[in-house]
Symmetry: D2
Subunit: 444 residues, 4 copies
C-alpha cells in the first residue's frame, strides 16, 4: 500500500531474484476497494503451473460472471475483477487444449464472455500476453527498451534492442529509457517473449460498434506527455482551450490557470483569444495531507493553505480562469474568493470540458449522481453559486472534435493502425459520463 | 504479521463492527510459510455467501487434494492448507443439498477425503462449526463465557451463561473470563450458535485405529496450565520428571532446571529423588532479538547473554540439570560450559522426553533428520559432545505411561468422554517423531 | 525531524496545552548540521525563568563568541548558533538590571557583540521580541491575524484584530488567515504582547554602511508570493527575465522554463522579447527520492525520470530555456540532451541571475568554491560543456537594478519605511556570493 | 527512547566510528522525566574540548545547585541532574588548574558541593573517571574484560586482559564476556585509561556517618545474579525468605511465589519452614502492554490475563504465597481471588520486605505517600482488604540482618574493602523508605 517508492523500499527490491520478465500494477486507491488483498497482479497456481494477471478497468458484467464462477464451485477470496478474470482463465479449458494449456484460446474465450473494460497483462512461464478489450476502453501501449549507449543519439533503425515494455501510459517509457512503439489495438492480443513482440489476433467488436476509448483520459487522467491514438495529450488539451475560446469568448484583461493541470488549456485559450497569459496562484508544496486543523478557524481557511495568491499580477484586473473540469464544485469557489479578495475585479470561469452528469461503470471513480454539481439545483445559477462573474463549459461536440481532429490527420500517415482488421468505424470515444450513452448495454 | 498486540493495535480493533460471532487464528511462523497471504482465517465468497475457515494442522494428503481441486479448474492463490480446505468446502455440494447449502454434509465429505491432521473452525452466517479430525491429532476445546459478576464467586450450576468460545488450548479461556467446558472429541462436529453448543456428529476412524493426539503437546508445545484429556499439562510434565528420576537416578547434590519450560519436570525429579531443588540460571529479559553483534567476540558469547549464572547457589556442587527436550543440541552445550565455569563440579543432563528421530507430517515444525542430534554420529557420545558428566533421556514407554496414567484415572469419572461413540480404543497418542510409527499411511 | 506534518502528527498537536503565545522554527536541513539536538527553538531555564530563542541566520563571529561564553565556564551542548545566542542572553545582565530581567537591554547588548546575520524571536513569559540584525541580512516580517468572519470581505480599517504573527516569509500568512502588515526593519526590536505590536528600538549600523539584505532571497530562496521591501518576489523575477531579454537577446522560435521556479523569469523574457512562451517539460510528481536504482542503466537515465518531454511542443524548433540559476551545472546538461533528443534543433540557455563564485558566511548553504561551475575551467566554454547552442547570464548590475527598481517606486508611498531612523543609505543588498564583497569584515 | 535493542538498531551501531572508550546510560523511564532531551550521557563543549557525563542517582540538593549555576549566568536546557553536574564541572576551574584542565580537582570540588546520591562516569579525551558518592548510595562496580580464548577456561591470574568495564550492576558483565573485579568504594574516584584501572582518591564522609547503600537494590531492583558488597543478590533474598519463615511461620500445606521475582524468597521460606515448594501461577508471556480492552468485561479481568492458574497444584490446599514487596496493594488482591477461585482453601501472604512508608529523594521512583498501602487506612485490616487469610511483613531488623549477615562473613576475607580509608563504620544501608531516617539532612 502506498506510493511505489515506499511500498517497495530498496531492501525489498534487492530481495527480488533476477529475471527477464515481470508484470506489476499500481492504481489510485478509490474508497472501498483499497485493500491489500485486492492488490495486483493476482497470482494463482493451476494444474499447469502459476499464472499472474494484472488488470486495468472494470468488467461491465462482473456480477453475472462472479455468479457463473461460483456456480462452478469456486470460492472467490476478493472483490476484485482481477481475481475473477484469473479464475475464469483457470476454469475454461477450451476444446482444442490437450496436454499443454492454450492460454490464447482461453483469453479469446474470456473476451467473448465480457465486452469491456479491460486492459490485461497475463504472464505464464516465459510469455506475457498484452490484451485490450474490443472497445479499447482503457489504454495500453508498447515501448521498446533502447540500449543506454544509443539513448542520446538518433536511434532510428537500430537492431540491438534490449527488450519490450507495456504500459497504460507512454509517459512511463522515457523514465526507464524506453521509447514509444505503438498502441495495442482494441481487441488485440499481443504476445511478448524472447522472440520479441508478435500480434496474435484482433478480436472484433459487434458489427457496427465504434471503438470507445475513454475521452476523460485526454481531459483529466493522463499525464500531458503521454501519447494516445498518435497524439500528445498536452496538444489535445491545448486544442480544447482554443476551442473553448471560440465557443466562449470573454471580455477580460488576462487569462490564467488553476495550476497545474489546466495550464495547456489556459495557454490555448490565451493564444486563440489574444489575451495575455499570466499566473495567479502558486502551489504550496508542503501542505501536509494529514495535518490536523485544531480549530474552526483553520478549517475554514481551506484552499488558502494550498495556493498562494500572486497578488500583484492581477490586482485591479478582470481574470479568465481556465479549469480542466468542475466535478463537485467545491474547490473552485474558494479559489474565486481568494482571487477577488486579493484584488481581481471579475473572475470568469471557463471549463475545458463539458459537465459530468452520469456514472461510469468502466473503471473510473466518479462521484454519485447526487454529488455531481451538474445534477444539482445550484447548477442553474452556477456562476452565482461559486461567486464567478460568468461560467461556461466546453460543449461535447467541441471536446470530441478537439480530440478527433488530431487523429484524423494521423490516420493518413500511420500504416499500422489502418491495417487493423477491426470492422466498421475506426475512431470513436466513450463519452458516457457526459452523455449517458454507454458503449455497450449494461446488465444488472 | 507479528504478535497479536502489534498486528491489531487499538485503532484497528476500534474499527471492527460490533457482532456476536467471530473466528481468528494465530500461529508460530515457521520459515517458508510465513507470508501475509497465508494468514488465516481464509474467507471466500460462494454462491451462498461468505464462509471463513481457520485451520490448525497439516493435511497428510494435501498434494493429492490440491491436484484434485485444480483439475476442477480452481486456481489456488496461496500455498496454505486452509485455502485448500475452503475451496474443497465450496466445491463439493453433496447430493442432499437443494437450495440452502448443507455445510455439515460438506464438512463430513471433507472428512472422508482427508484423515488428519486438522482442527477447524468454519463460520457461515450465524453459525460456527468446530471440527476435529477423526484421529484427534491437534487439540481443540470448548470454553463457557461466564458473566463477570459471577467470575469471582463459586460458579457452579449457573444458568445465565453469556457465550461460548473454542480454542486449541484451554489456557486462553481464563484470560477472557471463560471456563474450560470440554474437549471437542476426535472426529466430532460441534455447532455453536445462538442456541448454544450442540454436538452434531462424530465421524469414526477406520476400524481398530486408536486416536493419535500429538504427545509433544504435553512435552513441549502447550502452556503448562492448559488441560488436555482431562489433565493439566504441568502435572504431566511433573510426572515425566518423577518417571525420569526412577529411570535415570543420579549421584549428585542438587537438581535444577533450564528455565522456564523444564521447571515442572525438575520439581518432579527433585521430589522423586529427594535431592534439593535450586535455581542455577536467571533469564535476561531484555535480550534483543535483533541486537547486532558487531564482532566475533560478542557472537562467541552466545548463551551467556541470555542467562545469568546464580553462581553462589551451585559453586562446588554436582548439578542434575533437567531439560524438557534436546532437539539440535546447540543450546545445552554452552549452558553446561557456563555452569562449570561458574563452579559446578559436575553437570548431569536428564531429559524429560525421548530423543526425536523422525519428521512430523502433521503440522509440527521439526528440523530435518540430519539436524536432529539423535540422528547424528555425535549422539554416540552425547555427554562428551556437550560437555556433560552424563546424559539420559526418558524412554518412550516412560513418557506414554506418564501421559496416559492421568487419563486412566479420569476415564472413570468423566461421563462425557465415555459416551463418545468412537469405535475401538479410546486412548492413544501420536509418537511418530519418536518412533517413526505414523497414525495413517502417508501418500506421496 | 522531517516535514512539519510528519514531525508533528495530530496526536502530538493535541497534546499541546492551549495558550496565547508561541514560537517555532523550520529549516532546510543542510549536511552536517541536521541533528535533532540542533532543533529550534532553544529553551533554557534561567534565574528568572525560561527563555526560548528561534534564530535564522549565521553569526559571522560565532567562533569568537563561543570562546567567550566557554571562558565564562558555560559548557555548550550543541554546535548551533541558537544555543550560543541563548547562553549569551542568559549570561550578560546589563548594568541597569536590578530584580527583574531587562531582556531588551540584553538583546541590545547581544546586537553590539555580533553585527550579522540573524533574525530572532525571543520568548519570555507573555512577551515575544522580534529582532532583525542591523544589516537586515535575513528577512523578517509581521502579519496581522484577521477574524475569520472578515476574511473574505473587504477588510480595510477593521478594529477587532485577533492577533499578530511574525515570519521570515510573508507567504505563510495567507495560509493561516493573516495579512501582511510590515517588515521588521534592519536593527529593529519589536515587542509583541497582549498590548499588540510595539517598536522598541532600532540599533544603527556603523556610519555609512548600507543595509545588506540577501539578494538571493529574490533570485532563488523565497516563495514567489512573498513580499520583501514592499514588492512581490514573483514580480522581481519577472523583471529579471525582462532585463535578461534586453541584455541577452536570442535568435530563436520559442521561450520556455525549467519548471517551476524559472517560470516568472521565462514569462518576463517572452514578454520583452516577443517570442512565444511554451512548456517543454512536465514534472513527474512521483519520483521517489529513496528509490533504488538497481543497475547502471537506470542510474544513467538521470533527469529523464524527473521530467517528461512535451515533444510535440518544440520538435523542429529553436528553444530559449530560462533557468533561475546554474550552480554546479549538473542538472541543466541532461535537460538539454533530453530536449535535443526529443527534436529541439537548438537549445539556448539564459540564466536569470549572475554566476555564483564566492562562499556565503551568513546562513546560506552554498557549495564549495571548487564545486561552483563558475570557478571551474569548464566555465570558459560552458555552452560546449553542457551541450547548449549558447549560454548567457544576467549581469550583477542588471540583477541589482531589477531588484531595486521596485523599491524606489515604493519608497515614495510607504510612510513607515521612510520614517525609519536608520542612518545613511536606506537601500542595499548583499551580493557577496556574486562579487566577493561582504557587508562586514570577516573575523577568523 | 525505548529498549536498547530498538533504540540502537544494527544500522545505528554500524555507523559508530571504531574507538577504545565509551560511556552510555539506560534508565527506567519514570513519569515526568522521560523526555528525549534528558537522555544521557550529557555532552558539552568546553574551552578544553568535550566532556561527557552519565549519572545514576538524584542530587539531594539539586535545587540549590541549579540556582547557583544559573546565578552564574548559565541557562540550563534540561531538568536533568546530569546536565547540572556537567555544567558544575565546566564552571569551576579550581585554583591549581593552569593550562590543562584538572578534572579530578573539579570532580572533588563537585563532591564537596553535593553529598549524595550519584554514581558518575565522566569521559574526557582518553580517560574515564568512575565516581561513587561518599555515602555509596547508588551501586557502581568494575569488571575485567577477559580474552575470549580464555573465557571458558580457568581464568586465574592471567596477564593479557583486554580492557575494563564499569556498571551499576555486575550482572551485565557476563553477557559481554567480562568478569566481576570489585566495587567502586563509597567516595572513591577511579581512573580508567590505557594504563588500566587506578584508584585516585577516596573522598570521606562527615565524621561518624556510616555508608548508606540503598537496601532496596537487594530487595527489589537488582537482578538476582548481581553482586553487591561481595554477596549475590539471590542469596540475600533467599535469606530474607528464611528470616521471614522464622518471624512469621504459617500453618499451611504449600509455599509458593508470585513469579518470578519472589522465587528466591519463597524457596528460602520453604527450606526454613519445611513446607513443600510448588508453583501456582504461570506467566502469560504474550500479554500486550498496549492491548486495548474494548469493554468493561475485559478491563475487570485484570490480572487473569497476565497469569495462568496451575489449578491442580493447589486445589484444596492452604497456600503461603511469598511476595517480595507490596507497594500499592493493587496486584496482590486479584491474584488471591484467582487462587481462591481456582480452589485454594486459604491464601496467606508473606512479604519478604517491610512496608514502604516514606518517599525516596535519592533516585528511586516511589509512589506518593498517599498511594502507599502502608499509609492508608485499609492497612489496618490489610488481610481483609486484599482477601488473604493472613498478611505478614518482614521486620526492618530482619531485613537488615539478612543483608548484613553476608557482608560480615565476607569482610574477613576481602582485603580490598578493609583497606579502604573511609572513616568510621564500614557497613550501613539506607532504609529511609522504610524508617524515614535519611542518610543526610534534606535541604528544601
Amino acid at each position: 500500500m502506498g506510493l511505489v517508492s515506499t511500498a517497495f523500499p530498496p531492501e525489498a527490491l534487492l530481495k527480488l531474484r533476477s529475471g527477464n520478465l515481470g508484470i506489476c500494477h499500481t492504481r489510485y486507491s478509490t474508497t472501498g476497494f483499497s485493500e491489500l488483498q485486492n492488490c495486483q497482479p493476482f497470482v494463482v497456481d493451476t494444474l499447469h503451473g502459476k499464472i499472474a494477471v494484472a488488470h486495468n478497468g472494470e468488467l461491465v458484467n462482473a456480477l453475472a460472471l462472479r455468479r457463473k464462477v461460483m456456480r462452478h464451485g469456486v470460492g472467490l477470496s476478493t472483490s476484485s475483477d482481477s481475481e475473477l478474470i484469473t479464475q475464469l482463465l483457470a476454469l475454461t479449458p477450451p476444446m482444442e487444449e490437450r496436454d499443454a494449456p492454450n492460454w490464447v484460446a482461453r483469453i479469446k474465450n474470456l473476451m467473448t464472455e465480457t465486452p469491456t473494460s479491460y486492459s490485461l497483462l497475463v504472464m505464464y512461464k516465459d510469455v506475457i500476453y498484452a490484451v485490450r478489450d474490443p472497445y479499447g476502453n482503457r489504454p495500453l501501449c508498447i515501448g521498446r527498451v533502447v540500449p543506454v549507449s544509443k539513448l542520446h543519439t538518433s536511434g532510428a533503425g537500430e537492431e540491438d534492442t534490449e527488450g519490450w515494455v507495456v504500459s497504460s501510459e507512454s509517459c512511463s517509457f522515457q523514465s526507464i529509457g524506453a521509447k514509444y512503439y505503438r498502441e495495442v489495438l482494441p481487441g488485440e492480443i499481443v504476445q511478448i517473449s524472447k522472440h520479441g513482440v508478435k500480434s496474435l489476433s484482433v478480436v472484433p467488436r459487434p458489427e457496427g460498434d465504434p471503438p470507445a476509448f475513454c475521452i476523460f483520459e485526454y481531459v483529466y487522467f493522463a499525464r500531458p506527455d503521454s501519447i494516445f491514438e498518435g497524439q500528445m495529450v498536452y496538444t489535445v488539451r491545448q486544442r480544447c482551450g482554443r476551442q473553448l475560446a471560440i465557443e466562449a469568448p470573454t471580455d477580460a484583461d488576462v487569462v490564467s490557470t488553476v495550476p497545474e493541470s489546466a495550464t495547456p488549456a489556459a495557454l490555448g485559450y490565451a493564444q486563440q483569444s489574444g489575451l495575455p497569459y499570466i499566473e495567479v496562484l502558486c502551489k504550496n508544496r508542503y501542505v501536509g495531507r494529514t495535518f490536523i486543523q485544531p480549530n474552526t478557524r483553520l478549517r475554514q481557511l481551506g484552499v488558502a493553505k494550498k495556493f498562494g495568491a500572486l497578488t500583484d499580477n492581477f490586482a485591479g484586473k478582470r481574470v479568465v480562469l481556465i479549469d480542466d473540469s468542475i466535478v463537485r464544485g467545491n474547490t473552485i469557489s474558494p479559489i474565486i474568493k481568494l482571487l477577488k479578495e486579493a484584488g481581481a475585479t471579475e473572475v470568469h470561469i471557463r471549463v475545458a470540458s463539458p459537465p459530468i452528469r452520469y456514472p461510469c461503470y468502466m473503471g473510473i471513480n466518479i462521484p454519485t449522481k447526487e454529488e455531481l454539481i451538474a445534477n444539482r439545483p445550484e447548477f442553474q445559477d452556477i456562476a452565482g453559486y461559486i461567486g464567478a462573474a460568468s461560467v461556461k463549459y466546453l460543449t461535447v461536440e467541441g471536446l470530441v472534435s478537439a480530440v478527433q481532429e488530431g487523429i484524423a490527420s494521423l490516420k493518413e500517415k500511420d500504416e499500422m493502425i489502418t491495417t487493423s482488421n477491426t470492422s466498421g468505424k475506426r475512431v470513436g470515444h466513450c463519452t458516457a459520463c457526459l452523455t449517458g450513452k454507454y458503449p455497450v448495454e449494461l446488465e444488472w
